[in-house]
């Protein structure tokens, strides 16, 4: 630091400090006078004044790396993909933005180069497990925003040197205001363009995401004339990264663009969709008259601008235009537009449009020359009560609640049309108030109440709150259920959704809403791996959605994919017919101009599993790779969704590349553990199928560890997902058997017999198969202990359970049962009977074209040998040999078409939490091919 700068700092400081004590207006003249024409000095003082007054941003030191130029460098995330930084795009929204290129699948034939906008955040890296999870959770919600007019969040996390970054879809376009000016767009077309913006914002609101920083700079128009919204929800995400710093400095303003900020934003109050309505109002104002309502000329300083937004006079666009004397394309702004803009710009959020859809609807009415609502006066302003009551600090919780409030308000409007009594309004207000009180940060850990916590509280309260009218409760319960599903918490979603379903019976609920509740419920059951419960729900939901007025094609398709997935494991549909149907779905999607990418890759994954179940390994692997490839483009790098697609690939590649598959499994489990946590159905599902796969590979101790861990987890949600628990236990028992621990295997399954039978009686093929397999294990365990009677009983029960379809559907269990019955008869001293069973087994082996090295053939050979020995008088030795033989596992002992235990989330987030499927089915026939 040179002496000159040093002296300047020292001399500037007293001037700056003195100036700070002066009134705002007196400062500049004072500074100018003090500096006596020394421009450098004046700049230094001004810089100090700015720094001293800065209540925004920069709570921390700049990270050195971010301060240096990174152009040309290669950034790699903690995960795998790397970004090549091309050039600096600009700064804003909490960080510096660079244009970068990402290469996917480098060196492979389908190498893909993708241009992205990388934003480095002005914050420290995210440290600690909890903040990371919260950040991931928030980002996951953002990543579910999948709309043609919203720039997609592609990736994010922490670079290997510890900087936080986000990668967003790179949009080449021009700011909406400039684009409109350059094209001299007529008013009606501007409104039409703006409506597209509204649709995107409304879409995000429905996904519980508000933008908070809408401004022309964040709305670009592409060459094709399509608007694209940037930075959706980033402001909220930054709250989470900001963590400690944000709460310490009590500022949430960061990089807020004041001219577009709503009054509630300026005051740091909890924000709802109303904040975005306001900002859209400002943008619309600007689009229709070319001037901003605030901050265009008179209010240059932040202080005066804040005052203007808060209390200043707001002229309607038409008057503003006239007053400014600007020459405009139009002679005047129509009164309807004036009214609409002014309604969006009410200072009290409750007096604004209740939602962006309402604003859009009014603009549509204007275009259709129908009377606009904004001019009909305000009928429901007393609802301001809602927002007034939540004086809790701005947090994630408040945000979610504010969104729920706006749902409730919209719902109230509908209800008013139905002329419901007034006191019901008070009931909702009471409910919301309650939520806010419970969201008191001092009760939770710090001020960072998570979305999850709010949902938990909200759901609990709503379940018991009887004084809120049923239709309102239903819409709130549905929103909560969907949010749970989005977070992969199907188990939590079930009770509120069941309650909603029950409530709907009490009033005349419309078809669409009924379909939506069922669809959400079906998905919730899928995520906890209860396929037989999910299937009828999906079917019913599809029927209802198809009946509902309006176009719900995507929604129906989503349910249909989920249904196919469930059917793969929980029904009698053949894999071939499911594959055929999935191909139809894919063709349907491909035929669209802008297919929903998430639906596409979900369908691709189902196809992979169906192909795996059909023994089409090459096809299955290709489809699974394609799905993973698409998923990597769609989801952020540490999104748990990717775990699921990796898992699918692992399953279908087991036969061709067992070692690689086990590696994929391990990675999926580690990722899942880090991102989501090691409890719940998701982890349990991963572990069970991993364990089954390891068993097939012959790594018994590893298989045992995985399955034991999973069995422990599965117990906690056995109520929601009984078949999955039984499947896990049976799998574990089989491993025990192969390890020679037949007593443990029997002890594990014996207590489950009653439950196995209950499930099998009215359950799915999966449940019937679980019972058959369990009985076979018990029979084989009895043989080891020379208990001929018990063996006979269990094998006979297994035979009866499988019935006539056994040889076709459960060849493995069938063959083992025949062999077991033969051994039992021999042990019991009935060589004649044993010979009959042997004959049946030999016939079966021949009919099923069993390979010479397969388990069935080996069993037959062994039984034959022992039978001969027995007949030649060495029965006892043979019986001993039986025991030894049973204890030595043939590698293909798992061969058998277990059902697909699939749990895909085919709604907006695909099954992060229960990434399961047809382990056995996909790998069926392993033995035969070895």
């Amino acid at each position: 630091m040179n002496e000159e700068r040093r002296l300047r700092y020292l001399r500037a400081k007293p001037i700056a400090l003195a100036a700070l004590d002066l009134a705002e207006a007196e400062r500049e003249p004072y500074v100018v006078a003090c500096c006596r024409g020394d421009e450098d000095m004046r700049d230094e003082v001004r810089w100090m004044l700015e720094a001293a007054e800065a209540t925004v941003g920069c709570a921390s030191l700049p990270r050195l790396a971010a301060a240096t130029d990174v152009v040309g460098s290669l950034i790699s995330a903690a995960g795998s993909s790397g970004y090549h930084i091309l050039r600096r795009l600009g700064e804003g929204g909490g960080g510096v933005v660079y244009l970068a290129e990402r290469t996917l699948g480098e060196g492979t034939p389908d190498e893909l180069r993708q241009r992205v906008a990388i934003k480095f955040l002005h914050t420290g890296g995210i440290s600690g497990c909890e903040p990371l999870r919260r950040f991931t959770e928030e980002r996951r919600i953002l990543a579910t925003l999948n709309h043609p007019n919203i720039a997609h969040l592609i990736d994010g996390g922490t670079t290997s040197d510890g900087r936080s970054f986000l990668a967003l879809e790179y949009v080449q376009g021009e700011r909406i205001d400039r684009w409109c000016e350059r094209h001299e767009l007529p008013l009606r077309e501007r409104v039409a363009l703006f409506l597209k913006v509204c649709a995107a914002v409304h879409y995000a609101h429905q996904h519980l995401v508000i933008h908070r920083d809408l401004k022309p700079g964040n709305i670009l128009v592409t060459d094709e004339g399509e608007p694209k919204l940037l930075d959706f929800g980033i402001a909220r995400l930054l709250d989470h990264v900001g963590g400690v710093a944000a709460t310490q400095t009590q500022t949430d303003m960061r990089s807020l663009t004041l001219a577009y900020a709503s009054p509630e934003q300026l005051h740091g109050r909890p924000l709802g969709t109303g904040a975005d309505v306001w900002s859209l109002g400002v943008v619309l104002y600007q689009l229709v008259c070319g001037l901003r309502p605030f901050g265009d000329s008179d209010e240059a300083s932040p202080m005066s601008l804040t005052q203007a937004i808060d209390t200043g006079k707001l002229l309607p666009p038409s008057k503003r235009l006239r007053k400014s004397g600007a020459t405009s394309l139009w002679h005047e702004v129509p009164a309807d537009i004036d009214a609409i803009v002014m309604k969006a710009l009410r200072r009290d959020p409750c007096e604004r449009y209740a939602g962006v859809d309402a604003l859009a609807a009014d603009l549509q009415r204007y275009l259709a020359a129908r009377p606009v609502r904004a001019r009909q006066g305000a009928a429901w302003y007393h609802l301001r009560l809602f927002v007034r009551r939540h004086a809790v600090g701005a947090s994630a919780a408040a945000l979610v609640l504010a969104l729920l409030v706006s749902f409730a308000v919209q719902r109230m409007q509908q209800m008013r049309r139905l002329e419901l009594e007034r006191d019901k309004t008070a009931a909702i207000a009471g409910f919301l108030q309650n939520l806010f009180e419970n969201a008191d940060p001092t009760h939770a850990h710090g001020s960072q109440v998570t979305v999850r916590e709010v949902l938990d509280r909200g759901a609990a309260t709503l379940m018991s709150q009887r004084d809120i009218p049923a239709p309102v409760r239903v819409s709130l319960l549905l929103s909560m259920g969907r949010s749970y599903n989005q977070l992969g918490l199907g188990g939590q979603a079930i009770p509120p959704l069941q309650e909603a379903r029950k409530l709907q019976a009490s009033y005349d609920a419309d078809v669409l809403e009924r379909g939506q509740v069922l669809a959400a419920l079906g998905r919730a059951y899928s995520t906890v791996i209860n396929l037989s419960a999910a299937i009828p729900l999906d079917q019913e939901a599809m029927k209802l959605l198809a009946q509902a007025p309006g176009d719900h094609a995507d929604e129906i398709l989503r349910v249909r994919i989920n249904l196919l997935y469930n059917e793969l494991g929980g029904s009698n549909e053949t894999a071939a017919s499911i594959a055929h149907e999935v191909r139809q779905v894919l063709a349907q999607l491909d035929a669209r101009r802008q297919p929903d990418r998430e639906l596409h890759l979900q369908a691709e994954a189902v196809l992979a599993m169906a192909q795996g179940a059909m023994d089409d390994d090459a096809g299955a692997i290709a489809s699974a790779r394609q799905a993973l490839h698409e998923a990597q483009r769609l989801y952020v790098q540490d999104d748990p969704a990717l775990v699921y697609y990796r898992f699918v690939l692992a399953l279908v590649s087991m036969r061709q590349d067992p070692a690689g598959s086990v590696q994929l499994f391990r990675r999926a489990i580690a990722d899942y553990d880090r991102q989501v946590g090691s409890v719940g159905p998701g982890m349990s599902g991963l572990l069970t199928y991993f364990g089954v796969a390891l068993h097939q590979l012959g790594s018994l101790p590893d298989a045992r560890d995985a399955l034991e861990r999973s069995a422990k987890l599965a117990q906690s949600f056995a109520h929601e997902s009984p078949d999955f628990q039984l499947y896990t236990l049976t799998g574990l028992a089989r491993v025990y058997m192969d390890m020679g621990r037949s007593a443990d295997a029997a002890a594990l399954l014996q207590p489950q017999l009653a439950q196995l039978e209950r499930r099998a009686r009215d359950g799915s093929p999966w449940a019937r198969e679980n019972r058959a397999n369990a009985l076979v294990v018990l029979g084989e365990a009895a043989l080891v202990h020379d208990d001929a009677a018990s063996a006979m009983r269990n094998f006979s029960a297994a035979l009866a359970q499988m019935g006539t379809s056994g040889p076709r559907e459960l060849p493995d269990a069938w063959g083992r049962t025949l062999a077991g019955l033969g051994e039992a008869a021999l042990l019991d001293g009935h060589p004649g009977q044993a010979a009959q069973w042997l004959a049946q087994l030999t016939d079966f082996n021949r009919a099923s074209k069993a390979a010479p090295a397969s388990r069935g053939v080996a069993d037959a050979a062994r039984l034959d040998a022992r039978l001969r020995q027995a007949r030649s008088g060495t029965g006892r030795a043979a019986a001993t040999a039986t025991g030894q033989a049973s204890a030595t596992p043939p590698r293909e002992s798992c061969r058998g078409p277990a059902p697909a235990a699939a749990a895909v989330d085919s709604s907006s987030t695909p099954c992060h939490d229960a990434p399961l499927m047809v382990a056995e089915q996909a790998t069926a026939g392993t033995g035969a091919k070895h």
């Binding site: 630091m1 040093r6 700092y9 020292l10 400081k13 700056a16 400090l17 700070l20 810089w47 100090m48 700015e50 720094a51 001293a52 007054e53 800065a54 920069c58 709570a59 921390s60 030191l61 700049p62 990270r63 050195l64 790396a65 971010a66 301060a67 914050t123 420290g124 890296g125 440290s127 600690g128 040197d161 510890g162 900087r163 963590g243 400690v244 710093a245 310490q248």
Partner: protein, 186 residues
């Protein structure tokens, strides 16, 4: 040297400008801080984050004995030493971590109140250099930065310790922060 009277005398001398006494006081505080931090971080069962205030308090107790947390308002002379020692500990740990080819999680020192300011990406030698420079330029600002960065003290605590108003602390803090940012951005 664990005699409390002795340490107090040391600190008084250090405050009066005796470099040997200052070094000795620093060394003791440093050893105490380092020892406690190591012990805590080495314990696998423990959370791997520490509170800066708790750390300093504990070190104080270790060096000066007694059972009471220090009352900084009456122990101003100690503050500078403690903050400086804390800074050495942090910088030391960060350097080690940055120098390691493959930093181990166990080497990571996370201090709750200040982790946001001092995260892994910061160039510590540059930071220390800037802070030293600031100290020659404006002693009070540098003290405020040290207390805030390295001891996690709140504006109110700093105000009390330095006997100035909270708003002055905040103003000085912002100026200092802006200055550091400018210098670091170079």
């Amino acid at each position: 040297m664990n005699d409390t009277v002795e340490v107090t005398r040391l600190l008084r001398d250090a405050q009066a400008g005796d470099p040997v006494a200052l070094n000795e006081a620093l060394r003791q505080m440093y050893d105490a801080l380092h020892g406690i931090a190591r012990a805590q971080l080495g314990n696998e069962q423990m959370e791997r984050t520490l509170s800066a205030t708790a750390l300093v308090n504990e070190a104080y107790l270790k060096v000066f004995g007694g059972t009471q947390a220090p009352d900084w308002a009456n122990r101003r002379h100690l503050l500078g030493v403690a903050a400086r020692a804390m800074r050495e500990v942090l910088v030391d740990s960060a350097r080690r971590r940055n120098a390691a080819k493959r930093p181990r999680e166990a080497d990571r020192l996370q201090i709750t109140e200040i982790s946001m300011e001092l995260s892994d990406g910061v160039d510590y030698s540059a930071l220390v250099e800037c802070l030293d420079m600031l100290a020659t330029l404006d002693r009070r600002q540098a003290d405020i930065v040290a207390m805030r960065f390295f001891m996690g003290m709140s504006a109110e605590q700093i105000a009390m310790a330095l006997e100035i108003s909270t708003s002055t602390v905040q103003r000085e803090w912002r100026l200092a922060r802006a200055w550091l940012q400018r210098e670091l951005a170079g």
